[in-house]
Structure formats: structure tokens, C-alpha cells
């Protein structure tokens, strides 16, 4: 069965859609990506659509579903490289891809994913420090104020 390859790069998954997808192929990609996020514990998904010549409501729905499923599975998703003519058409079609993060190109998309991951880690590590301070019964200057 025909499949769109999903590449793993560290904590991220990369997909480049290089063919004019028929509907079943799009559904397979959606399922495969969801499974791979869980299998690898991926923290981010980058979908490069720079080769796609159109995005219709079906592919738009697939992108929205991937973004939503990723979020639920604690991974960020970003769609990159949309052609200008595709963006113009998509908006006139009535599809604004609400809830789907986008970036102009792969480089900016990767930067977006890394930044999000860093921000999430910093948030967690602050929580950890607070916990350990309380556990040890230490009272620093900050807590006394």
C-alpha cells in the first residue's frame, strides 16, 4: 500500500508531502502520524506542503485533524511552506485552518518547534525546583518575602 514517509529527527517527526494525494492516502498519513507520535514519544511534528499545488477542504480537514491529535498527544504540529496561490485559494474557499500552526518554511517551522519545546521544559524544571525546595524544608529569600 502506498504511504507517505515519516522521518524521525530527534524528538520531532518530519513529513514532506511530495505527491498529489488521493483521499485515502491523506487518511493513512493522518493515522500513521498519530501512531508514530505515540511510538516515538515525539514532541513535535513538521509537515512540509511546499510541493502541494492545491489544498482543498479534505486536505484542510486532514491538517486540522493532525494538529488536534498532536496537541492531545502532547506534541506540537506546524505546517510549513504553503504556496501563495494555495493560501489565497484556501481563504476564498472559506478555510482558515483555525488551530493549525504555520510557518513560512522548514527552517522557521523547526525553530518554532524547538522554541516551544524549550519553553515547556523550562516551565517543568521550574516546577521541579519548587518541589525540591519544599521537600527539603528550605526557605530561601524568595519564599520569605
Amino acid at each position: 500500500m502506498e504511504r507517505i514517509p515519516i522521518l524521525r529527527m530527534g524528538e520531532f517527526l518530519l513529513v514532506t508531502i511530495q505527491v498529489d494525494m488521493h483521499d485515502r492516502l491523506a487518511m493513512t498519513l493522518q493515522d500513521d502520524l498519530t501512531n508514530k507520535i505515540v511510538e516515538y514519544g515525539a514532541k513535535g511534528v513538521l509537515i512540509d506542503i511546499s510541493v502541494l499545488e492545491i489544498v482543498d477542504s479534505f486536505i484542510g480537514r486532514m491538517l486540522g485533524n493532525i494538529a488536534a491529535m498532536s496537541r492531545i498527544l502532547d506534541a506540537a504540529a506546524v505546517v510549513v511552506g504553503m504556496q501563495p496561490a494555495v493560501a489565497i485559494t484556501l481563504v476564498e474557499l472559506g478555510l482558515s485552518l483555525t488551530g493549525v500552526r504555520t510557518a513560512l518554511n522548514v527552517e522557521r517551522g523547526m525553530e518554532m518547534l524547538r522554541r516551544e519545546l524549550r519553553a515547556a521544559r523550562e516551565l517543568y524544571s521550574e516546577d521541579d525546583e519548587d518541589d525540591s525546595a519544599t521537600d527539603a524544608g528550605e526557605h530561601g529569600a524568595e519564599t520569605e518575602e
Partner: protein
């Protein structure tokens, strides 16, 4: 309306939707449509071909190259002999769907072209005709 050329192709499977997109792209490009206009009519064709397949149970697409001096037009006719649409006005509303999609197909396709016509009756099938002028 002087017709320069007519092609017909089946819409019977998901891969026919891909073929339809490619055929529309190729004729639109050969007629000299801009990239944005090509993208709009190909996207409209994709939506309507999917409707023909999913709701009409399959049908045909006719691609008609029209020349009405001085303008050129690409007309696409999607025809099926499926159950038809009981309420066309309702079906054209954004967000209305009976098939679990986004409900943007018909209304969205209408916004992407210059002329839009739909003829449907319950039990008689559906014919959607769209034209994009250059």
C-alpha cells in the same frame, strides 16, 4: 458559445479525483490562466469531483474550452445520476453537510469561480456547471 474543445472523464474512484485535478490544471495552464486562477479552478474541481463521487455515487466530468471573443473560459460540468439534492439552497450554505465533511465543498467552489449553476432534483441526479473566465 463557441466551444473549442471538449473532454470527458469518469469520476468513479478517489484516484479519478486526482486525475480530474491534473486534467483541469493542464488545460487551465494551456489556456494561459494565471497561477492563482489555475489554483482556484483546480481546487473547485477537486471539491465538486469529490461530491460527485461521495454523494452522487460517481459520474462524469466534462471539460469545455470556450472562446467568446475576446475572452476565453474554462467550463467544467460535473454530472451524476445519484439521489439528487432535496434542498439546493441549504446544500450551498457553508458548514452544511450530510457526509461528515466540513460542508465547504459546494459553497466554497462557488466562490472560486465566475459562473456557477446547479441543477438537481431528488432521484434525478445532480449537474453542477462552473466557469472561470480569463
Amino acid at each position: 458559445m463557441p466551444v473549442v474543445k471538449t473532454d470527458e472523464m469518469p469520476i468513479q474512484s478517489p484516484s479519478d479525483i486526482v486525475m480530474a485535478r491534473q486534467a483541469v490544471r493542464s488545460i487551465a495552464a494551456s489556456m494561459g490562466f494565471s497561477l492563482v486562477d489555475q489554483t482556484k479552478i483546480v481546487t473547485a474541481a477537486s471539491e465538486l469531483a469529490r461530491n460527485t463521487l461521495d454523494y452522487g455515487g460517481g459520474g462524469v466530468l466534462r471539460l469545455v474550452h470556450i472562446e467568446e471573443n475576446p475572452r476565453k473560459g474554462l467550463q467544467l460540468v460535473f454530472e451524476d445520476h445519484g439521489p439528487g439534492i432535496p434542498d439546493v439552497q441549504l446544500a450551498l450554505k457553508d458548514g452544511y453537510t450530510t457526509g461528515g465533511g466540513l460542508g465547504l465543498g459546494l459553497g466554497g467552489a462557488r466562490r472560486l469561480v465566475n459562473d456557477f449553476d446547479i441543477a438537481s432534483a431528488p432521484g434525478q441526479g445532480t449537474r453542477v456547471t462552473i466557469t472561470r473566465w480569463r
